[in-house]
Amino acid sequence: MKISNIKYDLPIDENVIISKRNLVSGEQIIVLKPKMIRKTIENWVKNNFSFHISSLYVIDEIDRFELFYYVIHRKSNLSFILAEVLDYNNPTTQTISDLSGTIFYEGEATEMFGINFEGNKVTEVFLPENWNKGFPMRKGWEKSKKGDKIE
């Protein structure tokens, strides 16, 4: 089954697509306009399309963050990636944790990269309690000096 058939089952509004590119593995990355991922997924859930989000990952590009949602199409077991570019100084987007089981993925992105998912309350799970040393997966994050205590 080709990706065009997936589009038929998991429709994405052409107006919200910024760009598309193919990975070497054959998977397609579809970059959407800011805050359009929730709307797209809401539409899929409402129409009972069969999919799930297999994983979520973030890349720190120094001047921006890129957020990737790895979507699996259930019937064909094929995958593609929805992406969103976030402003570096105010990386905010909407949560989809109430629509599909991404609550921990988003929590991890919040703690490691400082990305704010509006509506997701899981923000203190992965790092030690009272962590106040910033976001450890960001480029440029300086690890604590020897002898520093985490309070």
Binding site: S25, S50, F51, H52, I53, S54, S55, I72, R74, N77, S79, S100, G101, T102, I103, F104, Y105
Partner: protein, 148 residues
């Protein structure tokens, strides 16, 4: 009578089909005192011959394939398979690996998927509750691989 007893005491057999152990811990948390799935009669059993529902976690490794099929065949009918985690649903982070089979549904038929990496214990609990609700309607549910 049989349906009633099945709904009141669904016994589970848990099978790690190659998972990283994350999902397994969440299943146990769903059975532990905070959520306490045991109050609905849900119980983990040691033998597939005693079980009604098979819970699988993991993408199914090459070596586990035979074990999964044999375990599935030993469960008496009617039986249900619930997959917990993204790995078991589609391969997850191990998708397209040379050693995994990209999901439990490539080996045995699956009734219910609970995706997430790992899914919260609440989601596992909700999945089991949904299965019981369908069972309690009197006829056997045709879930056709429903996704939560």
């Amino acid at each position: 009578m049989v349906t009633w007893s099945r709904v009141k005491s669904p016994w589970l057999i848990h099978m790690n089909t190659g998972s990283c152990n994350g999902c397994d811990i969440e299943i146990l948390t769903a059975l532990a005192p905070k959520l306490d799935a045991e109050r609905y009669g849900v119980k983990l059993v040691g033998s597939p011959r005693h079980a009604d529902i098979m819970i699988c976690t993991g993408p199914v490794t090459d070596k586990m394939k035979i074990a999964v099929v044999k375990t599935y065949e030993q469960i008496p009918n009617p039986k249900f398979v619930v997959v917990v985690g993204s790995c078991g649903s589609s391969g997850g982070i191990y998708k397209n690996s040379y050693i995994t089979l990209d999901g439990v549904d490539n080996v045995i038929p699956v009734d219910l998927y609970i995706p997430g990496c790992p899914p919260k214990p609440e989601a596992v609990f909700f999945g089991i509750a949904m299965l019981l609700e369908k069972l309690s309607s009197g006829k056997l549910p045709d879930l056709k691989g429903e996704i939560l």
